[in-house]
């Protein structure tokens, strides 16, 4: 059972190796990379390719590690006790299972996605050390230790907003999705737009990679932005010739709003385009 990428997701050799290593050795896999390089998508595609159920845990700044295990709903229980509901006798009715509990109790091997772990408090990863290491945790209310039936494949993504603690990193495998080169990008685009005109793709990629080379951009356009832009180009039926007009009077690619998301970047780019135009005789 090896992950090789799927019909909708192009995985490079190093990425598949990292995923397979994590699957074989049952370690969590930490994925980093520029925004828009398909980090979150990876978990979905791995789950699909390996035919395993996927449990997703999206982290926010207020997320606590405990929420991934379980939560004790004390207020409902107190309320029920007032109303004389017989359910109140059994505390397990008020234990709300978190993502990790569900995955641990799952009858088949599963994939757990812990998305954007860097959004949480700095202590968050430390609170999950034992859970990720031993794949078990103790539920105090039930006096019971929840142990994983099958060690799930845990995929963790990070956008580098916070530094993760060393003890946590030691337990993970790590892969940095680097920005795809032109060849890989062509494969990625081919997966998304099987009928794209070859001409248009060539020109679009040229413009795209040129744009990434512009110095001083705050946010370089990424794969997902390229895909969006291509969608727009197709929808508007822009001919490849329009993109080729690099030296001509309009050096700004059509629909560039899909590629540049930052006002300052657009200004910078327009300025550069203007200067380039003035240099023309």
């Amino acid at each position: 059972m090896k992950f090789q990428g799927t019909d909708t997701y192009v995985a490079t050799r190093d990425l598949t190796l990292a995923v397979n290593a994590a699957v074989a050795l049952q370690r969590p896999l930490l994925i980093k990379g520029e925004p828009g390089t398909g980090k979150t998508l990876l978990a979905e595609e791995v789950a699909r390719a390996l035919g395993m159920p996927l449990f997703q845990w999206h982290i926010k700044s207020t997320t606590k590690a405990q929420q991934g295990l379980y939560e004790y709903d004390a207020v409902s229980r107190l309320r029920d006790s007032q109303l004389g509901d017989p359910r109140v006798e059994d505390i397990s009715h008020y234990i709300v299972h978190g993502v990790l509990w569900q995955a641990f109790e799952c009858d088949e091997p599963s994939v757990v996605l812990i998305d954007e772990i860097d959004k949480a408090d700095i202590e968050f990863p430390n609170d999950l050390l034992r859970e990720l290491d031993r794949m078990e945790f103790h539920c105090y209310e039930l006096h019971r230790t929840i142990k994983a039936k099958h060690r799930p494949l845990i995929i963790i993504t990070s956008n580098n907003e916070k530094e993760l603690p060393d003890a946590f990193l030691r337990r993970c495998f790590f892969h940095y999705i680097k920005f795809p080169d032109k060849e890989t990008m062509q494969r990625i685009v081919a997966v998304h737009f099987p009928v794209l005109k070859h001409e248009l793709l060539k020109e679009a990629l040229e413009v795209f990679f040129d744009l990434r080379e512009v110095p001083g951009l705050k946010k370089k356009p990424s794969t997902s932005e390229l895909i969006d832009w291509l969608k727009l180009l197709l929808a508007e039926d822009i001919p490849p010739e329009a993109l080729r007009a690099k030296e001509a009077k309009d050096a700004i690619p059509p629909l560039h709003g899909a590629l540049l998301k930052n006002e300052q970047d657009v200004h910078l780019f327009e300025r550069i385009a203007f200067m380039a135009r003035r240099k023309q005789p």
């Binding site: 190796l17 370690r27 004390a74 700095i122 907003e161 530094e163 030691r170």
Partner: protein, 390 residues
């Protein structure tokens, strides 16, 4: 096995731990990769390196180790022969293998080992060295029917020596740079938690006590969540000699923005006088009186200046010394006023500490702040935060 390699990485200051070495060995035992050195490189990087900033250092260390192989006791432990054999079987067609009998496996691998040891740099073309597109029996994309492919078949895959020689992650090494996340970690020292704001968390003890007191009727008690309660006033020097340090200041600013709930920032030029401003584009139109700032924020705020403090001494010491306008009172008077209002203060200086002694104005300001000037580096930030939280 691989202990030398492990120690070599350690010596190159890669933070690798014994656990990770064991994981790598486990992975090798599980036959996760076949004989290629290229796969071994990817696998060891996945398992041993946990930060893309360290990829470059790892590439260099890996390159050094596998190039300087002749000095080490045997190449075999790194890429065992049976793997090479396995890979060769897998990649060679039946016809190729017949031809290959001319050249026994032993002989091929013997040569391969020798050449790996001899080879000093990455190689492309040619007929002897391991590399791309050559006619040597070793390497990838070559024409020799007896070739042993080093590296896989996939498009994105590069040959063994080449990948780490490219050092693609060169500019991510952060041993010199001061990144936003480092700044945040340093700023975290300032955290002080307090319960404030809307009550959203159930206070279980309070609820139980309240319910008991109520004769069994439910009495819910809520309490506010814990928040970082530190308040910070940030005064940023802008323009002139500070132009060289814009990047560092931007990073510091955005890190501080995310870290503190109560953060107020003001700009000044060279030294603080009677007016500061909040938006640098409208600095002349919308000047705030420094007195108003002093009266607005309580003494529990912590005061942080960011500036290179490089100016003419007159700008600090004399009335009318400012380069921009006529100031009635000297900069030093204003600085002292601010320091009297907010006794917890620090000055962060983007100039290297070693150069401070050569500029009189830096020494004057350092003195005014009672030696609480720190360089704008990770270490300096740590020291500043420690001094602020005293």
């Amino acid at each position: 096995m691989l202990v030398d390699f492990f120690l070599h990485l350690k010596a190159r200051q890669l933070p690798v731990s014994t656990n990770e070495l064991l994981a790598l060995l486990e992975a090798l035992e599980a036959r996760l990769v076949s004989a290629s050195l290229d796969d071994f490189y990817l696998l060891s990087r996945t398992i041993l390196v946990k930060d893309e900033a360290l990829y470059d250092r790892f590439d260099r260390a890996f390159g050094e180790y596998f190039r300087g192989i002749e000095a080490l006791p045997g190449f075999a432990p790194e890429v065992p022969e049976e793997w090479l054999e396995l890979a060769a079987r897998k990649h060679l067609s039946e016809a190729d293998r017949l031809k290959l009998q001319k050249l026994s496996y032993e002989k091929i691998f013997e040569q391969l080992k020798e050449r790996l040891a001899e080879q000093k740099e990455r190689h492309s073309g040619g007929s002897k060295w391991i590399g791309t597109a050559g006619t040597s029996p070793y390497g990838h994309g070559g024409y020799n029917p007896e070739g042993v492919r080093i590296g896989g078949e996939s498009v994105g895959n590069r040959t063994a020596i080449k990948v780490w020689d490219q050092r693609e992650f060169r500019n991510l090494d952060d041993s010199v740079d001061l990144g936003i996340r480092n700044i945040k970690v340093a700023l975290r020292r300032l955290r002080r938690f307090a319960r404030k704001g809307a009550a959203t968390e159930l206070d279980l003890d309070g609820t139980i006590a309240g319910t008991a007191r109520n004769g069994g009727w439910l009495d819910l008690h809520l309490r506010p969540e814990r928040h970082n309660a530190v308040k910070v006033l940030l005064f940023l020097d802008i323009g002139g000699s500070m132009d060289d340090h814009i990047q560092a200041c931007e990073e510091l600013f955005s890190a501080a923005r995310a870290e503190f709930k109560h953060l107020e920032h003001f700009y000044f030029h060279n030294c603080v006088y009677e007016g500061v401003w909040k938006d640098n584009r409208r600095r002349h139109g919308e000047k705030l009186s420094t007195w108003d700032v002093i009266h607005t924020y309580g003494p529990d705020y912590k005061l942080v200046f960011v500036g290179d403090a490089s100016m003419s001494p007159y700008e600090i010491a004399r009335p009318g010394g400012s380069v921009e306008h006529w100031n009635e009172e000297a900069g030093a008077v204003w600085l002292e006023r601010l320091l009297a209002t907010w006794p917890h203060a620090a000055w962060l200086n983007p100039l290297a500490e070693a150069h401070w002694g050569y500029t009189p104005s830096i020494q004057m300001i350092e003195q005014l702040l009672g030696k609480r000037m720190f360089p704008l580096t990770i270490d300096g930030l740590e020291r500043a935060m420690r001094s602020l939280s005293k």
